[in-house]
Subunit: 266 residues, 2 copies
């Protein structure tokens, strides 16, 4: 049993989709969240820079004595998970394997689509994760570089979002996919439009939901669940605008108020 | 990395629903299965007897040097998981928490039905597991003592099964459940009939599928996945009729042939 918080880091607000599911599936666990909004998106950056930024968030979390770290950003998971996991003494979860496992579980025809940032798709991290579970699986990857800026600007519904989604996803319409992994934690905010574009014929996997589920499994098996839930306190940090972050977080998490602080990472 | 097998134990053939999902989600992992068919069902037996029988299966598995144990029987999980987990040096999974976690994940209205043996329902194990995650949840439990004998006799479809299911589940029709946990690993064989009885309006959670998913998570995080999948060999043991067990297992697992041996437990 441990009342220590869980650290969740992301390049911006996308990781809040993981936070939302954590609050639903693990309502007794305190969360410390960092969104590196000022340097978002990570997708188009060089690997070494993404690694550096991710480590900076990890170092910032040191003073909170977190019991688990979730890298709630597919790009950072693809680039930095292995290294961070090998160096921290706590369980470190990325969002790629949970998404891959869930896709394997629901796909009937082994035809899986993956959308994400250019870095996530080019890294072939999902393809590797999926094929390490099942060799004979077809993976159709598609980079969607316009999606993260859309969400970070708060424009995740409406006609502009609809048009960008239709244009971007058109190449997947001609593939035989039965399951689509949202390989970026920003994308669940676009899920209603994506689902409607595929006329609900494709099963959509949100890596955020799946990661929260796996966090729950690991906390149980390491005897680290919190059983003192009376004074639950979540903390949110952003490297960008506190006002914008707070507005998006309140809307997405359906909370009346939250504590957000602006920070600088070095 | 470890090529050691995973032990799966059940009171009979029900745990094969877990095996089927393990083969789908973890196709590289060798399995040793024991079905205590001769003493099935466990549901109506006293706690001490269920514990004794479960330990006998665990002891039988000692020579196989298993890397993980799955108690693929809800009754045995409710009664013996805690004790066995505290005494074995390997990860021990039951089927109750995975089912509870999955139900929390999909339920929208926090109205959850649970069906199982009399022992599982009376133990309130699911209710405890669900409420430890979310306090304000309504749990509607129903014992279905006729379902296990139905499945063990191979009669899991057809008019008799349909009638028994309709009669047994009638009390749940008047509850506001939006999610139903199949709290017995035998029940997924009845899932098509159960689903049709609820006109697909209730989300059905199979503890077997969910347990396989969690086994996968724990194997990854304990660095115990098998990466030598070339000589995969599953072994099945039954305390009852080899012929009946083999017929059911081949049909359910959709395999042309499997190796089944009769054993005696002491």
């Amino acid at each position: 049993m441990s009342s220590k918080p869980i650290g969740i880091i992301d390049s911006g607000v996308g990781g809040l989709t993981v936070v939302k599911e954590m609050m639903r599936q693990l309502p007794n666990e305190p969360i410390v969240y960092i969104g590196d909004t000022a340097r978002c998106p990570y997708g188009p950056r060089p690997c070494e820079e993404i690694k550096k930024f991710t480590w900076e968030m990890v170092h910032y979390l040191e003073k909170f004595e977190i019991k688990m770290l979730i890298i709630a950003c597919n790009t950072a998971t693809a680039v930095a998970l292995k290294e961070i996991r090998s160096e921290l003494p706590i369980p470190v979860l990325g969002v790629i394997n949970p998404g891959a496992r869930a896709a394997i579980k629901v796909s009937k025809r082994n035809q899986i689509g993956v959308i994400g940032t250019a870095m996530t798709i080019n890294s072939k991290a999902y393809e590797l994760a999926l094929k390490s579970i099942r060799k004979h699986i077809s993976v159709h990857g598609l980079a969607c570089p316009k999606f993260v800026p859309l969400v970070e600007s708060g424009e995740w519904s409406g006609p502009i979002a609809k048009e960008i989604i239709e244009d971007t996803l058109a190449p997947l319409k001609t593939t035989p996919i039965d399951t689509l992994i949202l390989g970026c934690t920003h994308y669940p905010l676009l899920e209603p439009l994506i689902n409607s574009y595929f006329a609900s014929k494709v099963k959509i996997i949100s890596s955020g939901e799946e990661t929260a589920r796996e966090a729950s499994v690991i906390l149980e098996h390491t005897h680290s669940l919190n059983d003192e839930a009376d004074h639950l306190f979540h903390q949110f940090f952003t490297t960008g605008s506190k006002t914008i972050f707070k507005a998006i977080a309140k809307q997405w998490l359906e909370l009346e108020d939250i504590t957000v602080q602006s920070i600088k990472l070095i």
